[in-house]
Symmetry: C2
Subunit: 239 residues, 2 copies
């Protein structure tokens, strides 16, 4: 979305064309899915013929990765602005859902089926890290009150957070112990293993509900996905 500051009228025109191409691309993706995206069709829509667009995008894949980057950027921005005031995880989760429902295919472009060998370019993983940092902040700011964590009945380990394990205490579960030794992905962020665990769980659980909802796996069922999402969020905030 954010192009370089246009100077000459030529650059101005160029960026304007690129933006229009992307716009039409998003329309195509929203209505027919990413695989149906066609540079050719976009060119015809814009009144020019076929190969003209190759002056603006090196290839179809090039356009795709740029769209993916824009999607990440958009997500990071909405995430950032939702966490502005007090880093409330609840409003972030709500913003995430709004953003996803606003354009399901955009969400799925990021979190849906990838092409098997795909490896995201560096600038994209940077934005992903930016998103993760925001999530970590929000999880670190979370009041890790005791709440559940009664005496563990079996070998089952509750998510840490009980009275015996304050937020900055030692890892309370084996996975958090594992995280203590594998936290390079959160390097630069002063988060305890419990916070890392919390962030991962927030991510996977919200994505789990959202993904199935967007893919239409709840359509036959009559319950309201929003309530399931809210229940999961509630459970995440309760512990």
């Amino acid at each position: 979305m954010a192009e370089a500051p246009t100077r000459t009228p030529r650059e101005r025109y160029r960026t304007q064309v690129r933006a229009e191409v992307k716009e039409r691309a998003w329309e195509q993706i929203a209505t027919a899915g990413a695989p149906a995206l066609s540079l050719n069709a976009i060119a015809k829509q814009m009144g020019m013929s076929g190969p003209a667009l190759y002056r603006y995008f090196a290839s179809r894949d090039d356009l795709m990765t740029e769209l993916i980057k824009d999607a990440y950027r958009s997500l990071a921005d909405t995430f950032a602005s939702a966490s502005k005031p007090g880093a409330d995880l609840a409003v972030m989760a709500h913003a995430l859902r709004e953003w996803a429902l606003d354009d399901p295919q955009r969400y799925l472009l990021i979190y849906g089926t990838p092409v098997p060998g795909y490896h995201a370019p560096d600038d994209v993983t940077e934005i992903a890290a930016e998103i993760m940092a925001i999530l970590l902040d929000a999880c670190a700011a979370l009041p890790l009150t005791p709440s559940p964590g009664g005496p563990a009945t079996t070998s089952h380990e509750p998510l840490s957070g009980g009275p015996a394990t304050p937020p900055d205490g030692p890892p309370a579960t084996s996975f958090e112990a594992h995280l203590e030794g594998h936290r390079e992905w959160a390097a630069g962020h002063p988060a305890t293993p419990a916070v890392l665990h919390r962030a991962l769980v927030v991510w996977t659980r919200l994505h789990g509900v959202l993904s199935l909802e967007l893919a239409g796996h709840f359509t036959g069922m009559e319950f309201d996905p929003a309530l399931l999402y809210a229940a999961e969020l509630d459970d995440l905030l309760a512990r």
Copy 2:
């Protein structure tokens, strides 16, 4: 996978060719993704030219939906055989993960990005219902021991299961109350709202971890997804 019992040698040959086509299709999907599936390429691989395969599959989409159905069938079968003895949810979850990792694109064909307007045919939704029934059985058989559910500190509602709400008691959370009025999707299954909720949560949480892992979103991070999956499963079994 399960073709009709072949009688005449002609039918025999026909089903054999169809099976080989599907096999090659799965190879293509596994290596290049579903959008790259090409009837033409498969035909050439099999030594015949172009349109020959249209005698066996009405269209590319026809082949695709049949592959999707087979994927569902395969998942339902592994699920069923994993729940045979005592319907242990843990072994089912493990079987699910094994099945998914065995062919990520097959999993993603079911649970990944769909084409926007897609509506699954009836025989597919039937298999999906079959899978859900197995999951519901397993969740109903779960020992819903008290465990967490201490005094709810805020307005947050724990997943029901505390001493005050036995498995067959009244709904303990607002979402479960909602489910009580929207349980047509589990019609024919004598499950309490708490069990329905549990089934949905098992589904979404395991899918959340699995989906992100298969899509490669954990690759940059050094932790072991298997342990996160195990931790989530543990948490599901603990309550």
